[in-house]
Amino acid sequence: MHILFFAQAADAAGTREYRPDLPLADLETLWVDLLTRFPELEPLRPTIRIARNGEYVREGELFRHGDEIALIPPVSGG
């Protein structure tokens, strides 16, 4: 898995990407891993949406080896 951080999530984590050592994860497992490694993300968690391979994830979706996962804070385009 390859995790991308954008905007405030990149600022808080202090990095733009991260490769967790997880073969398979559900959303909760992913967040536990992320917050262990980047506790600064904790206050942002309620506002962050997760995308998997360029799509917002749906409830119950699993993350697998090879997935590109993005942490998407509230957007502000336009």
């Binding site: 991308l4 954008f6 905007a7 405030q8 995308a51 360029g54 799509e55 993005a70 998407i72 804070p73 957007v75 502000s76 385009g77 336009g78």
Partner: protein, 128 residues
Amino acid sequence: MPIEVTLTPAAIPRPCPLPVLETCGAVAEFYGTVRGEEAGEPIGALVYEAYEPMAQRQMERLAASLLEEYPCTLVRVIHRFGIVPVGEAAIYIGILAPHRREAFGFLSAFMDRLKTEVPIWKIKTLPR
């Protein structure tokens, strides 16, 4: 090809000429430009970040989905990222439609949904 979406670091041309189509009675255009102040302080530019492939696809998909409700003939969207100086456009939308209602409806709905769904961010301001 009724939907043209471009995500680019280049300046958005203004004017940005649309074709003339005899079936269309409405031409609507919108430029969202960078204002000279942010939170009361003068600024020189905004910096936009985009999750490029996802933002591109989300904009295309959003446009396609809105065309079902607002049947326009041509929709052109250009979103800029990187440094956008004050007075320049961060986004351009150009629409050709048979009638004004679908053009206005598309324009308004596209901007509303862009601002909640498309992974593009204003990440900082630059001073003058």
